[in-house]
């Protein structure tokens, strides 16, 4: 039997609160009664073995879960105290506030420049061409890509290497000025150096953004995490500050996972 230890202690400054969340694919229960609070402006890492529901949980934060057909969700996800599943919530606003860095970079079918400008355009975030230009430059700099692409902004985004594409996707995501960044194994398709690039960007950005990363590599979790959520078979087993969970896991499953037993 699994004994679930819920993380009861209140977090001082929670950005996301999940309450009694259940998620179903068809009839199969993928998330079982999840209750968690995610701290503001820190990196939270969700870890656990394959199929434990970590990506599913992440997808509920930007309402991507509902893009899969035949799914159902009960419970609440509150961002800044507001339930994003309320009827009167505009899903495009949710996704503007909660950005996503996907597993594989998927640049839009346009130039490097337009990829970054796209989000600003659809949300009408700038007034004129000059402002758009400045915005694009600004976010490419933040993503650490400006130096490499400043002379080829009109080339197709697909002409970049995979690692550069992922940084472009980061710039593109930041350009719509989100408050939360979700990362669904954002370095798993990248080579080690590109992964390092992305990781160091995420560490730089954590002062301004609440970051939630799903990973299945324990080392990456240890490098990035301020706060850790451990999941197993759709249940939340343990959550807490990274130092505590890594050095002194309370639950047997977590201990076994950290020791690499499964």
């Amino acid at each position: 039997m699994l004994r679930v230890t819920r993380y009861k202690e209140k977090i001082m400054d929670a950005h996301i609160q999940v309450k009694n969340l259940n998620a179903y694919y068809g009839k199969q229960l993928a998330l079982k009664d999840i209750n968690i609070e995610i701290p503001k402006n820190q990196i939270t890492v969700i870890m656990g073995p394959s199929g434990c529901g970590k990506t599913t949980l992440l997808k509920t934060f930007n309402r991507f879960f509902e893009l899969t057909e035949n799914t159902q969700l009960t419970g609440e996800v509150l961002v800044d105290g507001e339930n994003i599943y309320n009827k009167d919530i505009d899903v495009t606003e949710v996704r503007k506030i909660v950005g996503l860095l996907a597993q594989r970079p998927s640049p839009l079918p346009m130039s490097i420049y337009d990829n970054v400008a796209y989000g600003m355009h659809i949300h009408h975030m700038r007034k004129n061409r000059e402002e758009y230009k400045d915005g694009v430059k600004h976010y490419l700099e933040i993503a650490g890509l400006w130096e490499e692409v400043q002379n080829r902004l009109n080339e197709p985004a697909t002409s970049l290497s995979i690692g550069q594409q992922q940084r472009l996707c980061l710039a593109r995501g930041l350009a719509v000025e989100p408050e939360i960044i979700l990362g669904d194994e954002p370095t798993s398709a990248l080579d080690p150096i590109s992964s390092q690039h992305i990781e160091s960007r995420l560490l730089d950005l954590k002062k301004q953004y609440t970051t939630i990363i799903v990973t299945h590599t324990l080392r990456q979790a240890k490098r990035l995490a301020d706060y850790v959520i451990f999941m197993y078979l759709g249940e939340l087993i343990e959550a807490g500050p990274a130092k505590e969970v890594f050095s002194n896991p309370k639950h047997e499953r977590t201990k076994q996972y950290l020791e690499g037993l499964f």
């Binding site: 893009l67 998927s106 079918p109 659809i122 996707c169």
Partner: protein, 288 residues
Amino acid sequence: MMKKKHFERRHLVELLMKTIMRIALIIVASSLGLILWTIISRGLPSLTWDMVTQIPKGGYYMGKEGGILNAIIGSIYLASGGTLIAIILSLPIALYLQAYAQDSKWGDYVRLSLDVLWGIPSIVYGAFGFALMIMLGMRASLLAGIIALALVELPIMTRAMDEVIRRMPKDLEHAALALGSTKFEVAVRVVTRQMLPGIITGVLLAFGRGIGDVASVLFTAGYTDRIPTSLMNPTASLPLAVFFQLGSPYPEVRERGYAAALILTIIVLFVSFASRWLASRLSKYSVK
């Protein structure tokens, strides 16, 4: 041990099948060649400068002089107009199917009805257009021809676009949604860009069908020796020019019919190469 066993059954079957496929390929390729050769060898001698720059002298059925500029211009007007109307209606339908009715029952019904429309012979569209004209008290005209052709082209174009747009990578759609796009923005700004080459192919397919269609324009556009100057004029078309001229008792006029067929073929080839070129230019930004 690893030497080929020539008389093993599997190898014989493979050889047989390969031969059948090759024969089929040769039949198709040579009939295409034969068609082109017939048109060129019989049409080229009559394909004079006059043919493409003048209107017929002495009527399309009997006339041995002048050209078929009326039919060339008429066909281009008819097919372009029909294609334009079909695009205006097809693209929204195809995008709607992708964005809002992807794999729903409703989407299936729409696709089924488009397939049924595709299967309807074009003479039926012609008859429908004709009935409509009588109801509205219209005469055979360019406008009526364009509308009939648009109806013929619509299902072909929509289904071709739909099949292309369905192959849109999900990742790309999700990437745009993750930035807070509405489904409409995804459709217009991302899907159409990514799938532009395929969409153009769909348009071309419909244009080709439209410019070659006889039955739908027979009653609706009519036929005339003059070049249309308004949407309400009757309009000649190349397929009908071929039809009438080949039915002429004079061999010289029949030869002119082949020249008209050659012109029609050249126009279709030109449009298809031009759109290929355009599609490859426009696919520069597409995600492979």
